[in-house]
């Protein structure tokens, strides 16, 4: 498998805090990988740096061999790096259907059309329905996003990201704030989507059960530094990781 995303010597400071400390990583195509680490380790910041949401101080990011360091977020999205958010980022006043429909319009490059009725595009409707069915949201397509349960809202956020047909999907704590039962469902959903769409998927997660059961590769960030990288078995026994993060009692 070849690398789809490559990060080289990436650095970012927030004032005196070194939130990304010389990070190097190479994410393989089709891989399902997790980023773990204690609060404030710089996990979300890393996503923000990759997606161009904040500029880096130093270092490079390559996507499919192309240098995307400090490119505008919209441009990076167009290349196929799509993210979902820790706090579900949806359009609260719109229905579930319209949320996905708007994303579909963007995906089919129809969002700049200024006089056409937005509802006339057959391909956009088809794509919207396909995504909603795939994510199990079709039954509540007419509900307003604000009326959804927490878990469904997270699913909708991921659905919006998937609508854009990502080459690489970044999920920021997909199960944050969910009840154990909901987490389990979300985990299966992610696994299924990864297999179905042949996605390259990177997710940040605090639930170690989920991480160790579905991730092929795990990367551990502590205080802005990548301290370990490898398959679940390797990480489980990595002394530095146990000391810094997992704690002995977990296993």
């Amino acid at each position: 498998m070849s690398a789809i995303l490559e990060i080289k010597n990436l650095n970012k400071h927030f004032g005196g805090i070194h939130v990304a400390n010389n990070i190097n990583m190479s994410i393989k195509k089709g891989e399902m990988s997790a980023i773990i680490g204690p609060n404030g380790a710089g996990k979300t910041t890393l996503f923000n740096l990759i997606t161009g949401f904040i500029p880096s101080d130093d270092g490079k990011v390559f996507f499919e061999g192309q240098d995307i360091t400090n490119t505008r977020p919209e441009t990076i999205v167009k290349l196929g790096i799509i993210r979902a958010f820790q706090v579900a980022s949806v359009f609260l006043e719109e229905t579930v259907y319209d949320n996905i429909y708007l994303a579909s319009l963007a995906h089919f490059n129809k969002s700049a059309k200024i006089f056409a009725d937005r509802m006339i595009f057959k391909d956009v409707h088809e794509h919207t329905e396909f995504i909603l069915k795939k994510l199990g949201l079709f039954d509540c397509k007419d509900l307003k996003a604000s009326e959804l349960s927490h878990g469904d809202m997270k699913a909708l956020d991921i659905a919006i990201a998937l609508t854009l047909q990502p080459k690489i999907l970044l999920l920021d704590e997909p199960t944050a704030g969910m009840a154990p039962e909901e987490r389990f469902k979300m985990m299966h959903l992610i696994k299924e989507l990864h297999d179905y769409f042949k996605l390259t998927l990177v997710f940040i997660e605090h639930d170690m059960d989920i991480v160790f059961s579905i991730a092929q590769t795990i990367r551990v960030l502590v205080q802005g530094q990548l301290i370990a990288e490898g398959n679940p078995d390797y990480i489980r026994q990595h002394e530095g990781v146990i000391e810094a993060y997992l704690g002995k009692e977990v296993f």
Binding site: F85, F91, A106, K113
Partner: protein, 323 residues
């Protein structure tokens, strides 16, 4: 079903403004209706930025005023027969200026954007005062003649305004229902998400700002012809404030709300103005009542009724399947 519901406001709009011609309540009220319909366009144009995109511009009087001044001054400088063309030039002038103002102000958000738009509008308002020989200063410009076709009686001009406003409003209505309109609404609700759909928030806001200014300019040009006079008050901040008031009172989340708001505000000014010179005091009270009782505006009331029944609530559970 959906179709009829979508077009119902249009039907009411036509019945009201055409019906008025049939009833023919006399030139005074036709003139009032003309004012309402012109302000209506101004408010609907403004609402593209305000209610749809979620930007509180406090400087829209500038674009309204540019439309009025360009039209008025061109008529004065040449012939009234080209009045129609001059309205269009005024609107393009407003759009042209809005491009540069938008370029600068849209970099800011929230109150900073609002204050900067106010500053630009006040700057031009100040200029019209100073440039006396050019703009007529405090006196404005009087006796702007109408083209022959529209001269004599206010009814002809009302009909002309009605046609221009209806076409303009129809275009704005199409824009609101277009993919672009959805993007603007998305920007209001969640600009971050729009960015991560691969769309440029700033560029889309700028487009909306220019379109809004263009139609505000048309409204200004129409008003210049209605009374045949223009004055710096059209550029002053209360004119900007009126746009916000009209949209808010009528319902900024609805398309026709601003027209209703224009009707209420203009109608009140007319009625209360007959009895007391402190009419603005009474309008203040009415505005207060409307804002307290109908926080979504008069046309926004329906949003409270008929939402969420028990069946819908139960659906939530169905949704949570995760496939």
């Amino acid at each position: 079903m959906r179709k009829i519901k979508d077009y119902l406001p249009w039907i009411i709009y036509f019945i009201f403004f055409i019906g008025l011609l049939i009833i023919n309540p006399g030139p005074h009220y036709i003139h009032l209706a003309a004012r309402i319909i012109i302000y209506g366009l101004y408010a609907v144009a403004f609402n593209l930025i305000y209610g749809t995109t979620g930007l509180v511009s406090f400087g829209h009087a500038l674009f309204y005023g540019i439309g009025a001044y360009v039209t008025g001054m061109l008529v004065k400088a040449s012939t009234p027969e080209l009045f129609y063309l001059y309205i269009l030039i005024g609107a393009f002038g407003a759009a042209f200026i809005s491009f540069f103002i938008g370029l600068l102000t849209l970099r800011l958000t929230g109150i900073y954007f609002t204050m900067l738009t106010l500053a630009f509008a006040q700057l031009v308002w100040g200029l019209t005062f100073k440039l006396y020989h050019f703009t007529g200063g405090d006196d404005g410009i009087q006796a702007i003649a109408k083209p022959t076709l529209l001269a004599g009686g206010v009814t002809k001009y009302y009909l002309f305004s009605f046609v221009v406003v209806t076409i303009s409003i129809y275009i704005l209505w199409r824009i609101k229902r277009s993919p672009f309109g959805s993007v603007l609404s998305g920007i209001r609700q969640n600009p971050q998400r729009i960015t991560f759909l691969g769309l440029n928030v700033y560029k889309n806001q700028l487009k909306a700002f220019i379109i809004s200014a263009f139609f505000a300019g048309i409204a200004g040009g129409l008003y210049a012809g209605l009374d045949g006079s223009i004055h710096p008050d059209m550029l002053h901040w209360p004119t900007s404030g009126n746009a916000i008031l009209m949209a808010t009172i009528g319902g900024m989340s609805t398309f026709f709300g601003p027209v209703v708001g224009a009707g209420i505000l203009t109608g009140l000014e007319e009625i209360v103005g007959k009895y007391t010179e402190y009419w603005s005091f009474y309008i203040g009270i009415v505005v207060l009542i409307v804002v307290l009782l109908f926080p979504n505006g008069v046309l926004g009331i329906k949003k409270f009724t008929g939402s969420k029944n028990i069946e819908e609530k139960e659906k939530e559970v169905v949704c949570n399947t995760g496939n």
